[in-house]
């Protein structure tokens, strides 16, 4: 057991104790370390100005990815190496990405620029910036209001990181890895007494938000166990703890005024929850598998789901966000859920007492309500994959293609027997308090001819099964029309003569 977090920032070792553990990484960088190159704009992971690199331990050493530092808490970052814009090159120089941004006029006002430099360096590190397409996909987490992106993309395609500017050369990983390994087996308990630090020491920025929006305060207990067994023990002892993995949602809520609860169970060190693969025709995903890992698996093996995952948040979000988080967040607009619903995915829930599995179609009970008992932890999601010949389409409609929350989601799975529909599963999101199955419409479809007329009629029926509201992402009418239209769209997209651009 240890009472501090161990992390490196630009090669410098830091031990973080309880009173700072709940700070966001960006607050720590800017306020405690005075490293002001990391910029804060939205405090919600939607602009990427605060992007930094996080180097995490993998089999092959430290692997660096971009994350949004404004919604990452320090307690999530034990045994990582953080690199900020100040640390991208040797003091006083620029790496090739930075130089290319200068040469290609990639900065105008400069406020988003450090974030872009980080995201682009991350892509270089991972060798995924070779063509215009991957460059665009890799930069969806960074907003720029000045340049219109073209010059930034040009810089990205011009730059080639010199060997000397690669992270493992700038920051030899061996000493850091030795340090991490030496501490890797220790559970971490970061415990503060109940007096809010704020009242004890006014100058301490602990537990306060970026931009002064306030996180409130609470007596704090952050526990970062190493094994699933000890995580379940923590839950047995403190069943009310907040379970945090990627924090891409709670990070935002805290920045916008919500207080963190007294006890936090951080899952970032529990390796057992990282499982990911296709086993016996099923996609098996540990609750803490990151969306980046799921994306790379599905790119090879499950194209339809890949199309959804690749517009799920942005790289910075997918590098933190987890499979389990998207399920437990229980949002009716969660992008992954319609797929699970039509495939009858199973959730494995475990507690210190044992485990059970629940069909996802039975898991949600109302808006943000679900069947998880105190002391239980979602550990695994298992999704049966569609059979050969089954038609499966996943739909996401959002105002903007990338880094946007859905206005409407749907999944349609149909098995044909000749020209007739033998089986149909239909799930919709953002049109009710939970993701839902349109059972009446499914019943209607079974046994009918797979035709445009059938699908048109199904659309009309489905409209009666959804209850959308009007909000900032779209009106009720819009969502009803999308529900109605998705059926004929599905049909036409499966016609051999479909003309698509």
């Amino acid at each position: 057991m240890r009472d501090f977090l161990l992390l490196y920032i630009n090669g410098v070792r830091h031990q973080i104790h309880a009173h700072q553990a709940r700070m966001s990484l960006s607050d720590f960088l800017r306020r405690e370390l005075g490293q002001i190159g990391t910029k804060i704009v939205c405090s919600e992971g939607d602009c990427g100005a605060c992007s930094v690199l996080v180097g995490r331990v993998h089999e092959d050493g430290l692997r660096y990815e971009a994350i949004d530092s404004c919604i990452a808490f320090l307690f999530q970052l034990d045994s990582t190496h953080i690199v900020t814009v100040e640390g991208l090159a040797k003091a006083g120089s620029m790496n090739d990405v930075q130089q290319a941004l200068v040469d290609c006029h990639g900065s105008q006002c400069g406020f988003c620029t450090p974030g872009f430099a980080m995201a682009m360096t991350a892509m270089q590190e991972n060798d995924c910036s070779k063509d215009a397409d991957s460059m665009r996909t890799g930069l969806t987490g960074n907003l720029c209001r000045c340049t219109g992106y073209v010059s930034i993309l040009e810089a990205g395609l011009t730059a080639e990181l010199a060997e000397g500017d690669r992270m493992d050369v700038l920051y030899p990983s061996e000493p850091m890895l030795q340090d991490f390994y030496a501490h890797s087996a220790e559970d971490i308990a970061l415990i503060e007494d109940s007096t809010p630090p704020l009242l004890k020491k006014l100058s301490s920025p602990a537990s306060i938000s970026t931009n002064g929006q306030g996180k409130g305060f609470a007596a704090s207990r952050v526990l970062c166990p190493v094994t699933l067994a000890s995580a379940l023990e923590v839950l047995r002892e403190w069943p009310q703890s907040m379970i945090v993995a990627g924090a891409t949602d709670i990070g935002v809520r805290v920045n916008k005024g919500q207080a963190l609860p007294e006890t936090i169970l951080d899952l970032n060190r529990v390796k057992e929850l990282e499982q990911l693969g296709v086993v016996d025709g099923k996609l098996v995903m540990g609750a803490r598998a990151s969306w980046t890992e799921v994306e790379s698996l599905c790119r090879q093996q499950l194209e339809e789901f890949y199309q959804i995952v690749k517009v799920f948040g942005a790289p910075q979000i997918r590098n933190m966000g987890t499979v389990g988080g998207n399920v437990i967040n229980a949002s009716p607009i969660a992008d992954s859920l319609p797929f699970y619903f039509v495939m009858d995915a199973e959730l494995e829930l475990r507690s210190a007492e044992g485990s059970r599995t629940v069909n996802i179609n039975d898991f949600y009970q109302g808006y943000k309500k679900f069947d998880l008992q105190p002391g239980e932890l979602l550990t695994r999601v298992t999704v049966p994959l569609p059979d050969e010949g089954e038609l499966l389409r996943l739909f996401k409609v959002s105002r903007r293609l990338d880094l946007d929350i859905s206005s409407f989601t749907a999944a349609i799975r149909i098995r044909l027997d000749g020209s007739r529909i033998a089986e149909a599963a239909l799930a919709f999101g953002a049109v009710g308090p939970t993701v839902l199955r349109a059972r009446n419409t499914e019943d209607f479809l079974v046994g009918r001819e797979f035709s445009e007329a059938t699908m048109r009629e199904a659309g009309e029926l489905a409209v009666a099964e959804v209850t959308p509201i009007s909000d900032v992402r779209g009106s009720e009418d819009y969502r009803l029309q999308l529900t109605r239209n998705v059926f004929v769209k599905f049909y036409l997209e499966h016609q051999p003569d479909a003309v698509l651009l």
């Binding site: 910029k39 991208l88 900065s107 219109g148 992106y149 931009n211 105002r399 990338d402 206005s407 003309v499």
Partner: protein, 784 residues
């Protein structure tokens, strides 16, 4: 070694990419510095019944709370009409309107203090929309009008007539650096304020007014802004006053950094517009008469709204000749934050209406809209006088249209698109070419001035200070190039200093695209003054009585880092040597330059004059594809051709062109401001307000500058580039409309801006349901 015309990097590029360029929030804290924030009105309209700051003051770490009662000088200011309160006193006019300023030792204490402030209001029903304001006859300022010819007569006699209404939405500037200011007390009662502002002189003036100081007691400095786009022309004032008030009252440094949500909720934006229009035209689509009645949503105070409306009227014609025309404009007075400047400044709102009208005419006549635009574009030699009487001089629009249509392969793609649309049941494509003519100059005449301070040191290096503020647009590097070229030295020997009211007084805002025009010209004037002194000095120095070379300043040349007499070019004095020697000979190596744009004038009352020094022109072609079932739209290709004269820095200018276009694309596609019935903004962060992302830019994107060196009366024969490219994005909106015209040929298309996926789907659904064909032609006179 001329540097003009070279794509030198942005002045701060290195600082930007390394994170070392300091913005206000990055500046080191001073000992005792206070964190300052505010508490705003909980309602959009009402009277303040009670303000209770007791609990806030008792919060540990809270140092002070101030209300309107604590303001020593004027509490009300405004550039056009003084109706903008710094802190609401009795009446509140929009949600979030600042009422109480809170200062605290830490951000956490500030937050707790803000939450502890109680403001009780007697709530009244707010007026939020243009429609409501029209109904209740609530307007700000007088009706504005620009007219020519006999509109009614020509509407009546026209072979065809159409009428309709048009709505365009507002737009958040979405600068990445939120409003920010840092103030601290200077000596002798002075206040020094660092503000993220386009208008340091205005900040100086309002702080002096509010604190009851002389303007000489306030210094305002702006090193750079993290974007502005018009949003920091007037709206930087309130946060700057907050910081100054606290600094003045407490004697401590005070910093205000708005968070993104507050910034979006309480600051003004681009005005949304509602327009009634009617037009008459002939079989070839020539516009014979056009009448537009524009209404803008001004918000709760005047701010810049009348000037914005004025620019709308001055751009209602866009690139097209209108023989008989009547434009009138009214600013609606509503309970929203005061809407303000945003790149284009009312121009886009006027121009999109006529582009919409031209699309309607094309659909009505069954002709390609490009034919209609060609028929109406301003001519060369004839059909070239604007509705307000200014001649469109050196007009390149017809040539730009032809070149672009050719380069973008318009005709071939038109055929392909028609073919695709006939075949595809899943998608529909559209194509449009729109024009752009944007007038350069402030329409408020006195603002068309700039001054500069040029200081040369004895090592031949130069510091330049002007009133131009750097918001990312690259004005600094452009002025640097202009100055370096005056002395024929390496631009690295010239540095642009932070903009400060201490160096340059009574400056105009960096706005109206005129930053480089005004301040660059003023810098050159100062350089020329110094050059004249140096010429005299150098002439003496280089004179050679033995060879009969008499001192003659006219023969002195500055070239390649040195000076020489052109009659004996082999003898050269390095520039730094010349400076050193000149100082020893007591020659003044500093000068102040002043420039006032000549020949412009505009009479608001008659709506006639020559408001613009020149026009920046261009055109764009956009192609879009739309999913017929969900309305999702992608821009497939864009081709821009723009005449910005002789570019001072093509790298920087290309960035302005592309950035402006993409920003305009956001305005006409995805950027949507949503308010609830209480007047609270629901889309107040990037989660819910979607500016274009990297994947939204067209995969095929061709940007060209029209070669043109004939704008000789402007600095370096250049043309302003800041705002104009935004309006090239009207092509994207028009292409969407064009795509929809294939859904049901001949039917009326009522597409608003922004053309969001939702809006597009709404129109497509209506088109498919509606069995009637074109119902646009209505002879009745518009009601006003």
């Amino acid at each position: 070694m001329t540097s003009i015309g070279k794509p030198l990097p942005h002045d701060s590029a290195r600082g930007h990419v390394t994170g070392s360029a300091l913005f206000i929030d990055d500046m080191p804290a001073q000992v005792g510095e206070l964190h300052v924030g505010f508490v705003g009105s909980p309602v959009a309209c009402g009277e303040i019944v009670r303000i209770d700051v007791q609990a806030a003051l008792e919060t540990p770490g809270v140092v002070a709370c101030y209300t309107a009662e604590d303001v020593a000088g004027h509490n009300v200011f405004g550039l056009i009409v003084a109706d903008d309160p710094f802190l609401a006193r009795e009446e509140v006019m929009y949600v979030g309107q600042p009422v109480v300023v809170v200062a605290a030792e830490t951000p956490a204490a500030l937050e707790l203090g803000r939450r502890a402030v109680e403001i009780e209001c007697r709530e009244k029903t707010p007026v939020l929309t243009i429609e409501q304001a029209i109904q209740e006859n609530r307007f700000l300022g007088p009706v504005r009008k620009i007219a020519r010819g006999r509109v009614d007569e020509n509407l009546t006699s026209a072979p065809h007539r159409l009428q309709g209404t048009f709505k365009s939405g507002g737009q958040e500037q979405f600068y990445l650096e939120s409003q920010a200011a840092l103030a601290y007390p200077g000596e002798q009662g002075q206040i020094v304020v660092h503000s993220s502002t386009q208008n340091p002189t205005e900040i100086q003036a309002v702080i002096a007014e509010v604190l009851g100081l002389g303007q000489h007691e306030v210094v305002c400095i702006c090193k750079r802004m993290g974007g502005a786009f018009g949003g920091k022309e007037t709206q930087a004032a309130i946060p700057a006053i907050m910081a100054a008030l606290v600094a003045s009252k407490t004697g401590r440094a005070a910093r205000v950094i708005y968070n993104k949500d507050d910034d979006m909720c309480v600051t003004g934006k681009r005005h949304e517009y509602f327009t009634r229009w009617e037009c008459g035209f002939d079989d070839a689509g020539h516009l014979l008469a056009l009448r537009c009645e524009y209404f803008s949503n001004g918000g709760a105070t005047t701010d810049l709204s009348p000037s914005v409306m004025e620019r709308t009227l001055l751009h209602g014609d866009n690139a097209y000749y209108l023989p008989h025309v009547e434009f009138t404009g009214k600013v609606c007075f509503t309970n929203l934050p005061p809407n303000t400047a945003f790149r284009g400044f009312g121009g886009p709102q006027g121009m999109i209406v006529i582009e919409n009208v031209l699309e309607s005419i094309a659909e009505k006549l069954g002709l390609d809209a490009l034919e209609i635009r060609r028929a109406n574009v301003y001519g060369v030699g004839s059909r070239n006088v604007t509705p307000y009487g200014q001649v469109v001089d050196k007009n390149h629009l017809p040539e730009i249209f032809e070149t672009l249509a050719e380069d973008s392969d318009y005709q071939r793609r038109r055929i392909e698109i028609a073919d695709f649309n006939a075949k595809s049941r899943l998608q529909v494509r559209g194509l449009a070419l729109t024009g752009m003519k944007f007038g350069i100059s402030f329409t408020t005449k006195f603002l068309n001035q700039g001054n500069s301070l040029v200081n040369i040191y004895t090592d031949g290096t130069i510091q330049v200070s002007t009133g131009a503020t750097e918001m990312g647009q690259g004005v600094n590097v452009k002025i640097r190039q202009l100055v370096a070229d005056e002395f024929a030295i390496d631009p690295r020997r010239v540095l642009m200093m932070a903009t400060s009211t201490e160096k340059n007084n009574n400056t105009s805002p960096t706005a109206a695209s005129a930053g480089t025009d005004l301040n660059g010209a003023a810098a050159v004037v100062a350089c020329q003054e110094i050059k004249s002194r140096l010429r005299t000095f150098a002439a003496e120095h280089l004179a050679d009585s033995e060879s009969g070379l008499v001192a003659s300043p006219e023969h002195i040349c500055f070239a390649e880092g040195s000076v020489h007499d052109d009659r004996r070019p082999q003898v050269r004095i390095p520039f730094e040597q010349l400076c050193e020697d000149a100082r020893r000979d007591r020659v003044d190596l500093g000068a102040r330059g002043f420039f006032a744009t000549p020949g412009i004038d505009f009479n608001r009352e008659t709506g006639r004059g020559t408001p613009f020094f020149y026009f920046t022109q261009g055109a764009a072609v956009a192609e879009v594809v739309i999913d017929r079932f969900n309305g999702e739209m992608r821009v497939l290709r864009a081709d821009l051709l723009i005449d910005i004269g002789r570019s001072i820095n093509p790298g920087v200018d290309r960035g302005q062109i592309i950035g402006g276009f993409v920003q305009g694309m956001g305005w006409v596609t995805n950027e949507c401001l949503t308010y609830n019935e209480k007047g609270e903004l629901l889309s107040h962060s990037p989660t819910t307000y979607k500016i274009p992302a990297v994947t939204d830019i067209p995969p095929e994107f061709n940007v060209r500058m029209f070669p043109n060196h004939d704008n000789t009366h402007n600095i370096g024969s250049s043309k302003a580039v800041g705002e104009p490219p935004l309006m090239l994005a009207l092509s994207v909106w028009a292409a969407v409309r064009n795509a929809l015209s294939y859904v049901k040929p001949g039917a009326e298309i009522d597409l608003k801006s922004p053309a969001t996926g939702e809006e597009i789907l709404r129109v497509m659904t209506a088109l498919e349901k509606d069995t009637t064909t074109n119902t646009l032609e209505v002879p009745a006179r518009l009601e006003s």
